[in-house]
């Protein structure tokens, strides 16, 4: 399909003892917000991490813009330039200032000048609402602020896709909203996003498509309205009844 930016075909991932993915197929369309939900250990994060090859699939294909990328002949760094990632634990670089976190890769990887990168970086910091923190070190920021910087850092590379790996799971409850708001804004600007999350409200409101994973497989995939109101699979129903009741 031409409008698919990522296609995953028959993906298996085996760790030493467990088989995390047991043959997953998924398409991500350009501009789509795909939300991956499911119980912990279901393989959501592994699937996401296989998309930019932080995990190497045991079997199957990851296709980005029509090209198979889990192949020895592909320079994975070239592909990763186009795929940003936001991590559960932020992973900001603690030894450099916030603005330097944002401009480092655009300068070293994209070859932007410092002035150009700094200007773009400040714009992004404004967008995520904390331009005044540019010259602070990451440790001086709250968790929510750090995650917003991490989103700005990923956006600074002007990626074609953003991968979010449980971006709010490590946050104090009162900081979840500010991060989700930034993600929402990014989604509304047309960014293609794949989001692993437990935030069902976000999935429902912002997601274009929701995939429910369980035991290494995508069990059900539907538009959020349908998946949340009329799930077909028994396991989806059970999972949703648990998470929706508790929240």
């Amino acid at each position: 399909m031409k409008d698919n930016i990522i296609e995953v075909r028959g993906l298996h991932k085996k760790f030493k003892r467990t088989e995390a993915l047991k043959g997953v197929d998924i398409d991500i369309k350009k501009g789509q917000v795909m939300v991956l939900i499911g119980p912990s250990g279901s393989g959501k994060s592994t699937l996401l991490r296989c998309m930019n090859l932080l995990e190497i699939p045991t079997q199957g294909d990851v296709i980005f813009e029509g090209r198979k990328i889990n192949d020895k002949s592909v320079d994975i760094n070239e592909v990763r330039k186009e795929m940003g990632m936001v991590f559960q634990s932020f992973n900001l670089f603690p030894h450099i200032k916030v603005i330097d976190n944002i401009i480092l890769a655009p300068m070293k990887v994209r070859g932007m000048s410092k002035d150009e990168a700094t200007q773009a970086g400040m714009e992004l910091l404004k967008k995520v609402g904390i331009p005044e923190k540019a010259n602070d070190y990451p440790a001086q920021l709250s968790g929510g602020q750090q995650q917003r910087v991490a989103i700005a850092r990923a956006l600074a590379m002007k990626p074609k896709v953003l991968l979010f790996d449980e971006p709010t799971s490590a946050l104090d409850p009162e900081m979840i909203g500010e991060v989700l708001d930034v993600m929402k804004a990014v989604a509304f600007e047309g960014m293609t996003m794949v989001v692993v999350t437990h935030e069902m409200g976000f999935a429902r409101e912002v997601g274009d498509m929701v995939s429910f994973m369980d035991e290494g497989l995508i069990v059900e995939r539907a538009e959020p309205e349908k998946l949340f109101t009329a799930p077909e699979n028994a396991r989806t129903k059970l999972f949703l009844s648990k998470v929706l009741h508790s929240s």
């Binding site: 930019n52 932080l54 760094n77 070239e78 990763r80 330039k81 186009e82 795929m83 940003g84 990632m85 991590f87 634990s89 992973n91 900001l92 670089f93 603690p94 030894h95 450099i96 480092l104 890769a105 070293k108 990887v109 070190y137 440790a139 991490a150 850092r153 990923a154 590379m157 991968l163």
Partner: protein, 219 residues
């Protein structure tokens, strides 16, 4: 009876020896840091071959006496190549190679102590291994190993006295020469002991200061 009155006469010579000890140590740890950085990065990298090379280097050097290494370079190599090795060059080579192995192990530990997520974040931005090492991992590892590098400097300063046996005129050798002239071994070696102590103590103070200085912006 003990007699320290002659000490001022030989002090200039001893101070000159202490100077040699200091620059010899600085050169050894400096070159050792370059060797050790490569070894540490090789040991924690993805290449199996480079990993084995660095492990071999580290284990061979750490598993053999420094004095034997000094002899091998100063007496062994000339026999092999048919030309003498100046004692200064032999001393610097032996001490740097030795220091490189210990620092290699320190650097490896430092790199391994950096959170896995730092690599992943850098990779996810399209940075290759080299950029990631240079800009993300190594600076963080370096901060953490400063105290250990300081200890290595102190250890090397003491171990450098071994090159006295190949006539390198550092502090201990200057003392030996003074003893042969004055026949006052106790007084001279006491003074030399104190001079080593003053040097190591000052360095340990510097290490403590730099530890605080470098730790300001993190966590």
């Amino acid at each position: 009876m003990l007699d320290f009155t002659f000490i001022p006469r030989i002090l200039p010579s001893l101070l000159k020896g202490a100077g040699v000890t200091l620059w010899l140590t600085a050169a050894a740890v400096g070159i050792g840091f370059i060797i050790g950085s490569f070894m540490g990065i090789m040991a924690s990298g993805t290449s199996k071959l480079l990993g084995i090379v660095s492990k071999l280097y580290i284990n061979v050097i750490r598993g053999t006496p420094l004095l034997v290494q000094i002899f091998l370079i100063y007496f062994g190599i000339p026999a092999l190549i048919g030309a003498s090795v100046p004692s200064t060059l032999a001393a610097i080579m032996a001490l740097s190679i030795n220091s490189g192995a210990y620092i290699g192990e320190i650097v490896r530990g430092g790199i391994n102590s950096v959170d896995r997520g730092q690599f992943e974040a850098a990779f996810s931005l399209g940075m290759n291994r080299k950029l990631t090492m240079l800009h993300i991992i190594f600076p963080q590892a370096f901060k953490r190993i400063i105290p250990m590098l300081g200890n290595e400097f102190i250890a090397m300063l003491k171990d450098s006295s071994l090159v006295a046996v190949i006539s390198m005129e550092e502090l201990l050798r200057k003392g030996q020469l003074a003893v042969t002239r004055t026949f006052k071994p106790f007084e001279i070696y006491i003074v030399i002991t104190l001079m080593y102590l003053v040097m190591t103590y000052c360095i340990s103070l510097f290490v403590k200061w730099s530890e605080r200085r470098f730790a300001t912006d993190e966590r």
